[in-house]
Amino acid sequence: MHRSWGWLPITQLAAAALAVAAATVLAACAMPSDTSYGQQAPAPATTADQATQPMPGMTGMVMPASAPGADAPVATNTVAIQNFAFAPGTVTVKAGTTVTWTNQDQEPHTVTSVSGDELKSPALNAGETFKHTFATPGHFDYLCTIHPFMTATVVVTP
């Protein structure tokens, strides 16, 4: 049977074959033909298996341990949007610097402040860029409004 693998690197094809078998278990409750869902490779361990911690206010619900921009800050003015993540997750720039985001995914994303209006991009289609000049120092958390689990931070220094 021909399958469309889309984003899947060739090296993960073998792993994907294993996932088909696993997926049939998960598909048991859904529509009858929906074993055809099982085309995806298992998530990398870093995605689905990372440490989790309880989230206040929602009993039994857990979130990934990473906070917005929890990874080490990187001094750069370019951010890639790739595989549903901003990279680097935290960048540090001096006030007056223009930061450029480039969407390297096929899916649209936005660059939007969590609070306030510092960052408010339109939807960026595949390959599109968004530029913003940070005039004042501060700590700017942002996310993608379409996939709000994508969070990151720009730290602007004097």
Partner: protein
């Protein structure tokens, strides 16, 4: 099936997928569908919650409504080269049902990128539905760049706050929520909306059946991908005294059902394109199925309720 204790405290469920690693999730594969019995009859899935609710499907006087979801008008990609055509088929399928539904609810992601042209198109298409009334709640794709302003300009008449509302039909109380604004990782209702819910149900008898619509699930389906609502527990606490609460959502583009205490959750499928099961793959990226298989992953949901019954009958039909 999860034990039900009408009117009592919801049982604390320890078996939520959000608390599991992918490996644990696979190991607990039996969890899927464990809460609600799904029966397949001639290409449709009927969920029997608590017994003979499906009998309502044949009663001409029963409450009858349709849930559509995640039409993503404006999407262009290999996962579905013609989302307009798919949504047209879904509308025709609704119009071809044996009995006209009292209303149709679209649970969000009407558009793909919230453009005025996409809102115009989906609004016109929904006007073709043969039904008493069309309702909608927004998805995050309907508020990409404006906090839902264009959405409310098109669909927000008669709503409160950022677009939430409630209504009653044939003895059932319906609450339509907005949990796609003020996002950070997860869906969010916010203080104003929580207050609305509390007041909205305050005067209702505890035996009033409650149906809650939202785009993002009100249960923790897969928080890593944002498939949950961070303050849903507070909202559901106001509904704890009701004997029958049914929460219908979209967002995840796949069927899924579970029961927690007095609440049954049903995630609907999409009219546009499937997404992976939780944790299968690095992100919720649209799935491209083999030629000819797409229609089987898409569908519409018909819900019926007969006065005096405890539960609603939920029928998920593949796209015809």
């Amino acid at each position: 099936m999860t034990a039900r204790r009408p009117g009592g405290e919801p049982e604390d469920s320890q078996d939520r997928p959000g608390g599991m690693s992918r490996r644990q999730l696979l190991r607990h594969g039996a969890w899927f569908g464990g809460a609600v019995v799904l029966t397949v009859v001639g290409g449709e899935v009927i969920s029997h919650v608590g017994g003979a609710a499906a009998a309502a499907a044949d009663d001409p006087n029963a409450l009858r409504f349709v849930q559509l979801s995640d039409s993503h008008i404006g999407f262009h990609g290999p996962a579905n080269l013609d989302v307009t055509g798919s949504f047209t088929r879904a509308i025709n399928q609704v119009n071809g049902l044996d009995r006209r539904p009292d209303f149709v609810m679209h649970t969000g992601d009407l558009t793909h990128l919230s453009t005025p042209a996409q809102f115009d198109q989906v609004h016109q298409m929904m006007g073709e539905l043969h039904t008493g009334k069309v309702f909608v709640v927004p998805g995050e794709h309907d508020s990409v760049d404006d906090h839902g302003e264009k959405y409310r300009a098109t669909f927000g008449a008669g709503t409160r706050g950022d677009g939430w509302y409630s209504f009653d039909i044939k003895g059932v109380h319906f609450i339509a929520l907005v949990n796609t604004l003020a996002l950070e990782k997860l869906g969010h209702l916010g203080v104003d909306q929580l207050e609305f819910i509390e007041r909205d149900v305050a005067g209702l008898s505890s035996d009033t059946p409650i149906v809650v619509f939202s785009h993002i699930p009100l249960f923790a389906m897969y928080p890593t991908w944002g498939w949950g609502t961070d303050d849903a527990t507070q909202a559901l606490s106001y509904l704890r005294r009701f004997s029958s609460v049914t929460c219908l959502n979209g967002h995840v583009h796949q069927l899924f059902s579970k029961t927690e205490g007095n609440v049954t959750f049903h995630s609907a499928t999409t009219t546009a394109y499937p997404l992976p099961h939780p944790g299968q793959g690095p992100a919720p990226i649209p799935l491209t199925l083999p030629a000819g298989a797409l229609g089987d992953a898409l569908g519409i949901r018909e819900v019926t309720y007969e006065t005096g019954q405890h539960d609603l009958a939920v029928r998920d039909r593949k796209l015809a």
